[in-house]
């Protein structure tokens, strides 16, 4: 179970590093742009580690399915709440 926590936690860090790194590298000023590229490099390095070097027997696609399912479920719940409040 601890393997899942570590591996999927690293996947989360990779997602945020690559996503925010892209945004900062594209929209940032001259100094923040360099930091954005740094985040992209760190994210790519972590992704390389997870794909090539991580030896844990964690199913990546199953974990991502669970994560995406939880996210979409939360969004649907909040949409239901907003519809109920706005319609009242």
């Amino acid at each position: 179970m601890i393997d899942i926590v570590i591996s999927m936690g690293l996947v989360g860090v990779v997602i945020s590093m690559l996503g925010m790194g892209l945004l900062i590298a594209y929209y940032g000023s001259s100094k923040t742009r360099n930091v954005g590229f740094l985040f992209l490099v760190v994210g790519a390095a972590l992704a390389y580690y997870l794909v090539e070097m991580d030896t844990s027997d964690v199913a990546f696609m199953n974990g991502m399915l669970a994560f995406v399912g939880g996210m979409i479920g939360g969004i649907i719940g909040i949409i239901v709440f907003l519809v109920a409040i706005i319609k009242s």
Binding site: G12, G63, G69, I78, S88
Partner: protein, 149 residues
């Protein structure tokens, strides 16, 4: 890490749908608690309805959903760990951005125009213009007073 992309129907039902239901349930319970506590009148009733709907969703999942405990634990831990990792990544990015000096250097600015300016000369010109304007006003004032006499 096992990066195989062969996703069977059972995996979709076990991991995706189970976490979808848990996500809907948790979001409804959280928003229902919030609205029923802080709301008043009709909003409070809607809050209670959302709360019971969320509890019903979770109860349905626990009672009727055919899922092994080990599979559910794996799905839950995977989703929560990924979310936690994203939060840690965001905090790291914010920390680094706050520590880095994000203001552009003055070297980047085009200061050539400012260097060419001689402020003393500009001040002298302004003073001369002001003095000339004052002289004209006093001359005009003197002529008007003579005309009146």
């Amino acid at each position: 890490m096992d990066m195989s992309t062969d996703i069977s129907n059972t995996a979709v039902m076990d991991y995706f749908v189970s976490m979808l239901l848990i996500g809907i349930g948790v979001a409804l319970i959280a928003t229902g608690l919030f609205t029923s506590y802080f709301g008043a009148g009709k909003s409070q009733k809607i809050g209670f309805a959302l709360l019971f709907l969320g509890i019903g969703t979770i109860a349905y999942f626990i009672v009727f959903y055919p899922l092994e405990e080990k599979t559910f634990n794996e799905a839950l831990v995977s989703g929560v760990a990924t979310l936690g990792g994203m939060i840690i990544g965001m905090f790291t990015i914010l920390f680094v951005l706050m520590k880095v000096d994000t203001v552009d250097d003055l070297e980047d600015l085009d200061l050539e125009d400012l260097e060419d300016l001689d402020l003393d000369e500009e001040l002298k010109k302004l003073e001369e213009e002001l003095n000339q304007a004052d002289d004209k006003e006093t001359e005009n004032g003197g002529e008007n007073s003579e005309d009146e006499k």
